[in-house]
């Protein structure tokens, strides 16, 4: 007996051909594909919006102007420390109470933006702080304004360095989109749930769904490792091995 057959002997529920058979039907894949599209659309919109707002919050927090940095800090610290699922429910119910006319997808996307903006702001701020002081001083002494310095000197370097953590956050975001299913949105995870509640094959349906998420996120993480390797190479050529202020005094 081959090992697979022996394994199936012990766990018939996993191997039962009739439980896998529905995945031979194209309409099941069309259904999952539609769910996947919703997942990807929510993740993409939330990622782009969070990058934009996250940059604003990071700039506000590192501006040194108290009336900007205090509210930005409060926002970031509070929203980073709250569960995403909590924010999804709260946004959904609050939007319904306020009669904003937001659909469930809009409310869920807004919740993901609220959370990811806070995380993104912290990542971008760390990127800004990692740019050597000397770069800022040089930019200012060359006559650039504060915004000119940020726009042309600090942010381009910061953004290159934060690619790996931002991709990591994108992976988290793709996983977090599975939570919006609780509002009855048929994204990928919810589609899987609908399949197994109709065909009574939770093992098979959840494994298929998990593998689709895995394919997306594993690709993203490999991509980020690639992107990380290139700038590190360039940086090594540009920057001296030891920055002056780390020399023993």
């Amino acid at each position: 007996m081959n090992p697979l057959a022996a394994f199936c002997e012990t766990t018939p529920a996993l191997c039962a051909p009739e439980k896998w058979a529905i995945f031979l039907r194209p309409e099941i894949w069309e259904f999952l594909g539609r769910g996947l599209l919703i997942t990807l659309r929510i993740a993409l919109v939330a990622a782009l919006a969070s990058l934009f707002f996250g940059t604003l919050f990071a700039l506000a927090r590192s501006s040194g102007l108290r009336f900007l940095s205090l509210p930005a800090t409060a926002y970031v610290e509070a929203f980073r420390a709250l569960p995403v699922l909590f924010l999804i429910f709260f946004t959904f119910f609050a939007a319904a109470r306020a009669r904003l006319g937001l659909s469930a997808i809009d409310a869920a996307t807004l919740a993901l933006i609220l959370y990811t903006t806070a995380v993104s702001a912290e990542i971008i701020r760390a990127g800004i702080l990692s740019v050597d002081r000397g770069q800022r001083e040089a930019a200012r002494s060359l006559g650039l304004t504060y915004w000119g310095m940020m726009r042309y000197v600090v942010l381009p370097q910061a953004f290159r360095r934060i690619v790996p953590p931002q991709v990591g956050q994108l992976i988290t975001l793709v996983k977090d989109t599975s939570l919006v299913g609780v509002l009855g949105i048929n994204e990928l995870a919810e589609s899987g749930k609908l399949i197994y509640t109709s065909y009574f094959n939770p093992i098979q349906a959840l494994l298929v769904v998990a593998l689709i998420y895995f394919a997306i996120n594993f690709t993203l993480s490999r991509l980020s490792r690639r992107l990380e390797a290139v700038p590190a190479e360039r940086r090594r050529q540009r920057e001296p091995a030891l920055a002056p202020h780390t020399l023993p005094t």
Binding site: T11, A81, P83, F86, F93, R97, S178, A210, F214, S221
Partner: protein, 217 residues
């Protein structure tokens, strides 16, 4: 509104207690799996490396919700029926353990070989080297990421409400659907979550400062 909060608070606190228990058990499981996983990934034996890598990559790259559904809805067809709380803490612990594995591995690998060689050539025994050179540095490097993961894990425990574990968010939703007092209930719930997660952040910062002196560089 005050009366409503007075009536709701005991229910929410009950939920907070379940969240706390869920997190504590999952933390113990995650730390254990993380230590085992990091050992698997660092020993010079390829099959164990593969198992460690497969564990980390699979569980890190799939949603916790799907893992929790698997533990609660799919395992019964394999003959393993778990109560919601157990399925919840197992899924949460296994998921977080994959992240812990990477954090602990990074700490162990970050201790420079030169330090170990220097300690041994100064006449320290293997255990003295481990006790005074390797572990303090590895611990100092591992504490901040493990702390952040723990805070994330407490927040992720809210996902267990999807399999009807009566934790904080679940209780909040039940109360909301009964009273329609969205704002008071959800704002209180949010504050209760902050009461758990913000002190963890402080604790991590404090430990980071205290252990800072063990850091090389």
């Amino acid at each position: 509104m005050i009366a409503l909060l007075v009536r709701s608070l005991p229910v929410l606190l009950e939920g907070l207690w379940v969240t706390f228990q869920l997190s504590l058990l999952a933390f113990a499981l995650a730390l254990t799996l993380g230590t085992i996983g990091a050992t698997f990934r660092t020993v010079p034996f390829a099959p164990l490396n593969w198992i460690g890598t497969a564990y980390v990559e699979f569980f890190r790259n799939t949603p916790l919700l799907v893992q929790m559904f698997f533990a609660f809805f799919a395992l019964p067809s394999l003959g393993i029926t778990l109560p919601g709380f157990v399925a919840g803490f197992l899924a949460l612990g296994v998921y977080t353990g994959a992240f812990m594995t990477e954090a602990i591995r990074a700490g162990v690998l970050a201790v420079s070989r030169g330090h170990i060689e220097a300690a041994r050539s100064l006449g320290l025994s293997y255990f003295q080297t481990l006790r005074w050179i390797v572990l303090p540095q590895a611990f100092a490097i591992t504490v901040p990421p493990v702390g952040n993961l723990t805070s994330a894990m407490v927040r992720n425990s809210s996902v267990a409400s999807a399999i009807a574990v009566p934790e904080l968010l679940y209780q909040a939703r039940v109360l909301e659907s009964r009273t329609f007092a969205t704002y008071p209930i959800f704002i209180t719930t949010g504050l209760l979550y902050l009461c758990l997660t913000i002190p963890i952040g402080w604790g991590v910062n404090w430990l980071e400062r205290r252990l800072g002196r063990y850091r090389a560089s």
